[in-house]
């Protein structure tokens, strides 16, 4: 029950009660965005028990991925180097 999933905000449907329609992997539902400052269509949010708890920061997501990929590249390079060696 402590799980949370990312979804994309489609539109604010009820300004007073802070409800937004979100798309989560093709499923559309209303969630409460009252725990967040300003939310706009197109924002990605993390959803838990019907509430958006946090906005997903695209830049930070890219940084983390970039870091992972660079580690991947170092590994690939190492693998290539290894393949190239012919220790007798």
């Amino acid at each position: 029950m402590c799980l949370a999933i990312p979804g994309r905000v489609l539109e604010i449907v009820d300004e007073r009660n802070r409800l937004a329609r979100v798309d989560v992997a093709g499923v559309q539902r209303n969630v409460n965005v009252g725990l967040l400052d300003a939310v706009d269509a197109g924002d990605w949010v993390l959803i838990h028990v019907g509430f958006a708890m946090s906005k997903v920061d695209e830049e930070e997501a890219q940084t983390t991925l970039g870091l992972l990929q660079r580690m991947g590249e170092a590994y690939e390079q190492e693998l290539e180097d290894l393949k190239g060696s012919a220790i007798g």
């Binding site: 029950m1 402590c2 799980l3 949370a4 999933i5 990312p6 994309r8 009660n17 992997a25 409460n32 009252g34 725990l35 967040l36 400052d37 990605w44 993390l46 838990h48 028990v49 019907g50 509430f51 708890m53 946090s54 906005k55 997903v56 920061d57 695209e58 930070e60 997501a61 940084t63 983390t64 991925l65 870091l67 992972l68 990929q69 580690m71 991947g72 170092a74 590994y75 690939e76 190492e78």
Partner: protein, 371 residues
Amino acid sequence: MKYVDEYRDAELGRALAAEIVATVEPGRHYKVMEVCGGHTHTIYKYGVDDLLPANVELVHGPGCPVCVIPMGRVDDGVAVAHEEGVIFTCFGDMMRVPGGDGTLLEAKAEGADIRMVYSPLDALRIARENPDREVVFFAVGFETTAPSTALTLMRAKAEGVRNFSVFCNHVTIVPPLRALLESPDLRLDGFIGPGHVSTVVGARPFEFIPADYGKPVVISGFEPLDLLQSVYMVLRQLADGRCEVENQYKRVVPYDGNPQALAVLAEVFELRPHFEWRGLGFISHSGLKLSEAYRDFDSELRFAVPGVRVADPKACQCGEVLKGVIKPWECKVFGTACTPERPIGTCMVSSEGACAAYYNYGRFARERVVV
């Protein structure tokens, strides 16, 4: 799915695993605790532990909100559910949690009106739709979930919904961690911090772990690559002789948390002097109850709640599992008398419980594939 699939890439996983192998000292045994049950679940679902070298051991922590609910509180919930005119609502996970007197599922079979909800807002809707009934929401969860209950209560108050109340079992993450760190039977090298709790409280509350206990903490996301990277970051800190709070899950965790969520928590809840945790006993200032301003919505004041303390069954070793002292399969009833269908202890109930994760993903014994 965006923000999910890219963190499940197997090739990158192997690359990270290779980095981890290169970081550890061969002769040293590392124990890293993942605090959160959601992490435990990911680790076994994706076999993250199979990618780790044999001398890096993941120890499962107390961060499964369903697992830590003591028997007596389940009995209290069952008692309220049986009251005349009550509709009792709870998350699906709570239905099979054993109390001293059976489960909510059994109470439902006996005729109590118990309904599973996805969100506390669903419980409030049921209250609106049934003005002549008393609707109770069984609130469980750490700081991740508590703001949702708080906002629901604020809305109930604003709308003047009188037939809605909350049986509050929300808990806070720092006190049990401190209790664990004080316990002599556990030697840990570092922590994988709870990502979703941290979206609310931020990373700052975990600074006491490096400051007072000299252990690294890395707040982690929930995809397999997030976890591998976080394990790597903990090991990197150890290798560098550093010890600090790092945030691997920056894409959703601000260092200072979510100020709105913290504000609603402060408005709706206050700390209990102490709260009982399954297997861990009473921990001071570790549970939340409704504040003075919300006392009219407190089920414990509205109904006669027995409040009897019930000792855990003898066979149950959930306490040791929650503290990471034993592995699930070391419990004598694991997989025999205690299964997800007929759980004896709570760790077998929720998919985030360590015993359920081991059982569901076939970890019956010690052997693991070492790469």
